[in-house]
Symmetry: C3
Subunit: 213 residues, 3 copies
């Protein structure tokens, strides 16, 4: 149990760092001050997990009771601000870090829900919520429609990662296999979708009929 | 108790369907992809109830632990996407479905809070929250000021429905009477307000004095 | 304990009144109807506290179970609507009331988290959340980037107030000293920051390099 707990923690902190980087960069570009950048970075990193913990009754949420999450977010802000030009050279670092965090949180979120004894639907829903919740809050803070709702394979990649964890539990496959598999499938799907511009269909062609209304 | 439970469930699923339809149509018009449409539809349908459940300690919230809510939302999305042109012909179906969901959720939200042993204020507040919470989240997702805050008899209709349930509990009138009555009063008030353009007063005439500030 | 409880309640209701005034004025200026004004006023006043109570497991949140908060919000709406022109003459009353509420909530939020047995990080985080949560929700409702994220000494003043309470607990200094001290330091910092236009640094100079991207 203790090794497993360490494993969860490493996954959680890795995802926290990745998401905080993406939040800090987005907030910096919007011209927020240092406190605003920290809040947005922390919220992107921990927002999904806090919503998950509140939903499963893990009170107080780990995001605000475990100082390592806050420290990780602060380090990520330092990196994002200190290495800004370098991050720029790396080309779309936000999106890469985002894909890492997405995959890590989908898997760990589903597992934590199962660990609290909840059913498979809760695990899948909260895997997705953990993965995309922080980003949705970020976009609400930055006053735009959450990007995950528009023509991207993003939440659906998180769905895939969470489903692997749930399937692993159903077929009693050890975590050591399903964690890396769920993470890898989610990450690869996300990266391929970005690389080849895969999109989910939208249906707003009804606009054709609604001119002048 | 079992009959009552079935009754609650039917009411909840009916409201879920109605709200999910309205969410799916709004998301479709905004051009979101299929996953975004499902998320918005589900959130409109279950968001208010999830906030209610978190507030009364019903963990995990029924919206994410009971597969029937998700299935109902998915069916509603299918109907909204498949019968889009027909929904258009029906003229303002979003508003009609919205009024149905509003009335159902105001009544069931207040009742569930009472069922968990909370006081009348909690019941009224959570009846309104259940009824309008999903729509408020929808508008936040779609990046606009929640429509319920602007010149509409909407949340006030939910207030009426919740008050009927609370009054029924206070005077020990059976649910079988107060549920349909609260639902009907809320629905009729909402529809009449739409039909005759009843509005609540606003007070922004102070703008007269603030030109140039 | 009873005296302490009374003291908390007075602080909470004072902050509630101050924040509700600021929420009501902002909602009125935006042209919301009377119900929208009440909802925004109540949400600004109690939103942060409700999020805090949900995070520490104080269910149902005091904001919706204690009628005094709702009554206080309603009175504040009456004052804001009835004395609108007078408030105008008082010059920037929103900002003054806001600073009072900020200071009161930072201190009481941190104290309540400690009272529920949570650690110092939770206390500081929830002190800030209680203080700024309602204002963030207000700005999300009014469809703008939360003002606290942009170049203002605001949340950082709340951090100072909450830190004083936590330090007082650590050094076993009685509440009677740390409460007024934390409140005063937070309030003075906020007012000085407004008076002398103190700002936190922002880092969006990266825009220089990103023209045309």
């Amino acid at each position: 149990m203790d090794h497993l707990h360490t494993f969860y923690t490493v996954i959680d902190l890795g995802g926290t760092f990745a998401f905080a980087i993406s939040g800090a960069i987005a907030a910096k570009v919007k011209g927020l001050d240092i406190f605003g950048i920290i809040v947005v970075a922390f919220t992107v990193a921990c927002g999904g997990g806090i919503l998950r913990d509140i939903s499963i009754g893990a009170i107080p949420p780990a995001g605000i009771s475990d100082w390592r999450y806050l420290l990780t977010s602060l380090i990520a802000v330092g990196v994002a601000l200190g290495f800004g030009p370098m991050l720029k050279l790396l080309n779309r670092p936000v999106i890469l870090f985002d894909a890492l965090g997405l995959s890590l949180f989908a898997v760990s979120g589903a597992e934590k829900a199962l660990g609290y004894g909840h059913n498979y639907e809760v695990a899948v829903m909260l895997g997705i919520l953990t993965a995309v919740g922080g980003g949705v809050i970020r976009d609400i803070f930055l006053n735009r429609i959450p990007v995950i709702f528009e023509n991207e394979i993003y939440a659906s990649a998180a769905l895939l990662g969470a489903l692997v964890v749930v399937a692993g539990d159903y077929f009693s496959i050890p975590n050591g296999w399903t964690f890396p598999l769920g993470f890898a499938l989610c990450f690869v799907l996300r990266i391929l979708a970005l690389r080849y511009h895969w999109k989910l269909p939208s249906f707003n062609n009804s606009n054709k009929y609604s001119d002048g209304i």
